[in-house]
Each structure stands twice: as structure tokens, then as C-alpha cells.
């Protein structure tokens, strides 16, 4: 098994360098979020773009890892 891993990891690296990011991987692209109001507001004022603002707690009853 460790020999298989030794082979697979370099193969993955070669494939990644040989191939650009494909359309299939781009399908997982989500909204690109600024994480702080200070940074987002500065960018909105600089660029003149309107703001999509959302706030949510990154935990459920104090269990993290889920909105």
C-alpha cells in the first residue's frame, strides 16, 4: 500500500502540472467572500460595486464546522 502511495502522489503532482484546472473543477466555485466588513467596505468604495452582505454563525449550538 505504501508503494502504491509512493507512486500515486508524484503522479497526482505531474497531472496537476500538466493539466490546467478543468471546467469540471470550476463547477464547485462558490461566491467569493470578503471576511471582514472593513475590507469589504473599502473595496466597495474603491470599485463602486454594490455590496452583497451576509452574516451567519459558523456553528450550530456551539458545534463548529457547520453554518
Amino acid at each position: 500500500m505504501s508503494q502504491l502511495k509512493t507512486f500515486l502522489i508524484p503522479l497526482a503532482i505531474v497531472c496537476a502540472t500538466a493539466l490546467p484546472v478543468s471546467a469540471d473543477t470550476k463547477k464547485d466555485a462558490q461566491i467569493a467572500w470578503f471576511g471582514t466588513w472593513k475590507q469589504g467596505l473599502a473595496e466597495a468604495k474603491r470599485s463602486g460595486r454594490p455590496i452583497l452582505l451576509v452574516s451567519a454563525a459558523p456553528h450550530c449550538r456551539n458545534v463548529p464546522g457547520i453554518w
Binding site: 462558490q30 473595496e43 466597495a44 455590496i51 451576509v54 451567519a56 456553528h59 464546522g65 457547520i66
Partner: protein
């Protein structure tokens, strides 16, 4: 919040003409004050979720604000999401005509406030986290700038969360033996976002081709984790996964103190 809106392709496409800001509720006192100015719930307290579309001045509200997009966009899920996207496109077009050439400049790297929070948010989003680390401010700024060009490119936009770290102590979640070196780390968070594995490492001295290859590898090897709320919460309780917010939670539903509404009495 009904997050299904935010993962609809039409809404994601419309978001590209906006500055999208997502804050973590109860993680900043200053941001909490701001959020209450945007939407104050009936309880008078800051509740878990807030939604708004604002003008670039950050003050003028362009649609009805509320706890979620449902406050402004009604109907069945797909219909409401299309309505939201259509409204966003209309708003973006209004502001496009007023913009100068500054809009074509690459925006700064969109970062989360700190590594601890960023790891949690990446776990929530099921996305890898890219960490730009250097104890030298100039070097860190350069790393951020190099990453920003990729972060906003078509190949990588919306594929990662980002954070910038200047102090090695921030990596304590990775164990005492972890000694960070200047450069980029792509981290796969665990399911609770309390720990992570280094998936890719690019040194600060490596060139942009290596940086790009590193991100491509991270995208290709990333595996999404399906999560179900009740199961995740139960697993978290069993395994002792506990999140301490920076300021107290004031949402009565989260606290389990929400009053049940009494049934309406029929008049005779």
C-alpha cells in the same frame, strides 16, 4: 438562513459584479454593532443571520434587509433564487454605468479575520483554506498580492477561503511540533474546523508557476464532505467539539430559549 440561495449558479454568477461580504456573527463587537444597524430583529438583539444588499457607501439599503434572502425574495426556492439573481443583475447594471476604470484593478485578497476562525469557516463551506504566512510584513503583503491575482481569476475564484498570518503562534491548532515557514499553505480542515492537514505547501521564494500548480493540485484533490445538521451536532457533542464565540450569542433560537407561540384562539 436559507443558504440554498447562495449556492444557486444564477446567484453565484450575479455575485461576480458585487463586493460580497460574509461576516461571522458573534465574532467581532464592532461588526455586531454594524449588523444591528442593518437589521434589528423583533427581539431587539443581533440574531444569527443577517442579509442585505447595500450601495457601495455601505449604508443605503437597496432591497429589504432581513435574516435571509427570503425577506426580500419570495416563492419556491428556484423561483426566489432567480428573482434574487435578476434583482442583483439590475442593481449591478445601475452601478456599472457610474463606475470608473478603478473597477478593473484586481481587488485585494479576500481574507477572513484570523486563522482560528478561517479554519472553522472553511469547514463550514467545505472548501480548502489558503494561508499566506510570513513574520515579515513586506513579504506577507507580497504573498497576498500574488495570491490575489489567482484568487480573482476565472480558474480559482470562489474555490478557496483565504487568511493572512504574521505570527507563528496562530498555528497552535496544528500542534506544538508544527513550525511554519514563510510561504503558502493550503489546509484541508477537519469536519469541525478545529484542526487541519497541510495539503500543499509553496515556499515564499517559489515562483508563480509553482504557486499556481499548488492551487490547481489543491482544487483537484479536494474532497467535499457531506454534512447533515443533526448528525454533525451529535458527533460534535460526542467528540467534544466546542466553539467559543468572541461575544455572547443573543439569538434566542440558538440559545434554546425561544418562546413557543401559543395557538390562536378561534372566536365564537
Amino acid at each position: 438562513m436559507d443558504r440554498s440561495f447562495l449556492s444557486k449558479p444564477v446567484v453565484i454568477a450575479a455575485s461576480r459584479d458585487f463586493v460580497c461580504v460574509r461576516l461571522a456573527t458573534y465574532e467581532s463587537k464592532a461588526e455586531a454593532v454594524f449588523l444591528k444597524s442593518v437589521f434589528r430583529a423583533r427581539s431587539g438583539q443581533l440574531e444569527n443571520t443577517v442579509f442585505a444588499i447595500l450601495a457601495p457607501d455601505g449604508k443605503r439599503q437597496l432591497v429589504r434587509s432581513g435574516r435571509s434572502p427570503n425577506f426580500a425574495f419570495f416563492g419556491a426556492e428556484d423561483v426566489a433564487a432567480k428573482q434574487m439573481a435578476s434583482t442583483m443583475n439590475r442593481i449591478a447594471a445601475q452601478f456599472k454605468t457610474r463606475r470608473t476604470n478603478k473597477a478593473t484593478v484586481i481587488p485585494p485578497l479576500p481574507i477572513v479575520a484570523d486563522l482560528r476562525l478561517a479554519l472553522n469557516v472553511a469547514a463550514c463551506d467545505n472548501q480548502p483554506l489558503v494561508v499566506a504566512y510570513s513574520p515579515k510584513a513586506n513579504e506577507r503583503k507580497l504573498l497576498e498580492s500574488r495570491l490575489a491575482k489567482l484568487a480573482w481569476s476565472d480558474d480559482y475564484i470562489g474555490q478557496f477561503l483565504y487568511v493572512s498570518v504574521g505570527n507563528a503562534k496562530a498555528f497552535k491548532q496544528f500542534g506544538d511540533k508544527f513550525r511554519p515557514e514563510a510561504g503558502i499553505y493550503v489546509i484541508e480542515p477537519d469536519k469541525f474546523g478545529l484542526k487541519g492537514d497541510v495539503a500543499v505547501r509553496v515556499a515564499a521564494s517559489d515562483d508563480d508557476t509553482k504557486l499556481r500548480d499548488g492551487l490547481s493540485l489543491a482544487v483537484i484533490t479536494h474532497q467535499k464532505r457531506m454534512k447533515e445538521t443533526f448528525e454533525h451536532r451529535a458527533a460534535g457533542r460526542r467528540e467534544g467539539a466546542d466553539w467559543k464565540t468572541k461575544i455572547p450569542v443573543t439569538d434566542s433560537h440558538s440559545l434554546g430559549t425561544a418562546k413557543k407561540r401559543s395557538p390562536r384562539r378561534r372566536s365564537r
